[in-house]
């Protein structure tokens, strides 16, 4: 999985100064958007980042290249994430909803689509003989058995989405704890 310690190998476009400025030509902007989108997805996948909070993320090396002294503006960054949301590669997380400015600042990044996560979890359940087993969400993301899995430490929202897909397929059922909180899942065999 992720080669820890080594920094993410940025593509050559990352060292191209105009890449960090929103291009006025709409055609150029479209291709710039898709380049940024794949860069963000690759970066998040490499570093296993599940959420981007623009307040802090804007200072990451992802959005600012110190070597060429260029960085992305917050608005441009938001626009890029917005296009990713439209393509289904990300999803805005509504903050605590205190004010409108709070909105569209934090996003979940789907560097794998929920369907992929769902398949991966279903395969893992099969291969570890956990059909008909009851698992807590914490057990899936941080348990002993999921240690070497790609979904290790998966964001709760993404996990829930993936599990919902399995529920729709009839492969699982969401369970509530005694205090009514959604907390676990029961898996069934594949039929």
């Amino acid at each position: 999985m992720s080669t820890e310690g080594q920094p993410f190998p940025f593509p050559s476009i990352y060292s191209f100064p105009p890449f960090f400025t929103r291009q006025p030509n709409s055609q150029t902007w479209t291709s710039q958007l898709s380049l940024w989108s794949s860069l963000i997805l690759g970066y998040c996948r490499y570093n296993r980042i599940w959420r981007i909070d623009l307040n802090t993320a804007i200072e990451w090396d992802l959005f600012s290249n110190k070597e060429i002294n260029r960085s992305l503006k917050l608005d441009t960054c938001r626009e890029i994430l917005d296009s990713m949301v439209k393509k289904g590669n990300a999803e805005w997380v509504s903050g605590s909803g205190r004010d409108a400015a709070d909105k569209n600042l934090s996003a979940i990044i789907f560097w794998r689509r929920p369907e992929e996560w769902a398949n991966m979890i279903a395969d893992w359940i099969d291969s570890t003989g956990q059909r008909n087993a009851i698992l807590t969400f914490y057990e899936i993301s941080d348990g002993d058995l999921s240690f070497s899995q790609d979904f290790r430490g998966i964001d709760a929202t993404i996990l829930r989405k993936a599990l919902d897909i399995l529920v729709r397929r009839g492969q699982a059922q969401i369970m509530r704890s005694a205090d009514g909180e959604v907390a676990g899942v029961k898996f069934f065999g594949v039929q």
């Binding site: 059909r131 009851i134 807590t136 065999g189």
Partner: protein, 211 residues
């Protein structure tokens, strides 16, 4: 797996909920342990800092706190163990229940099949088939009686004719085509070879003769 998936209950049972609650409790304990571990490390740092400043009293206090947290950690460890053991026993009991269910079903099927094969039925069936065989034999006898000796001879004759025909078919026909040319060349070579061999033999034989 076949046993449990053939069960109609694809629902959450009471046992499932009990397992979930225990697992949730276990998760909480594990998270609590993580937190204590962080505090443990922190108190150690604090103690170090106070020692550097020369405040021995506070360093001791921090270490005392650390000791207390460490005790908590061992306590939660044993709690965690109990919880996990119980969860595993329940899960194993459920597996056993599945096995029992499978055995029951198998037993029932076997009973039903045996019911269909009652002794009376088998006896009756055997009687019936014996009667059938007897009847068949009678018919054969009756048919055999109707054939006269003369007719029997004719039948024998026919059989012999058929056998002759069969033998005639089995004997292969004599080939009419010429032999391929290459073989004749080979044959020549072979004869030359033979000559040479015989010459050599003669040469060898002569001294033998002389001797």
């Amino acid at each position: 797996m076949g046993i449990s998936s053939s069960r109609p209950s694809r629902r959450i049972t009471k046992q499932d909920n009990a397992i979930l609650n225990m697992k949730l409790q276990r998760d909480r304990l594990q998270q609590y342990q993580k937190r204590i571990q962080v505090v443990l490390d922190r108190e150690r740092d604090i103690a170090k800092q106070y020692l550097e400043k020369g405040d021995k009293e506070r360093a001791l206090l921090a270490l005392r706190k650390r000791k207390y947290q460490a005790q908590l950690l061992t306590k939660t460890d044993s709690q965690l163990e109990t919880l996990e053991k119980l969860t595993q026993s329940i899960e194993f009991a459920l597996v056993e229940k599945d096995v029992l269910f499978g055995l029951q079903q198998g037993n029932q099927v076997l009973k039903e099949i045996n019911k269909e094969m009652s002794m009376d039925k088998v006896e009756k069936l055997l009687d019936e088939s014996a009667a059938g065989i007897e009847y068949q034999n009678e018919i054969s006898e009756m048919l055999a009686d109707t054939i006269t000796n003369a007719e029997e001879d004719e039948i024998e004759e026919e059989l012999a004719a058929l056998q002759r025909e069969e033998i005639a078919k089995r004997i292969p026909s004599v080939p009419t085509a010429d032999l391929p040319e290459q073989e004749t060349e080979n044959a020549e070579e072979e004869s030359e070879e033979e000559e040479r061999v015989s010459e050599r033999n003669r040469g060898r034989r002569q001294p033998a003769l002389a001797a």
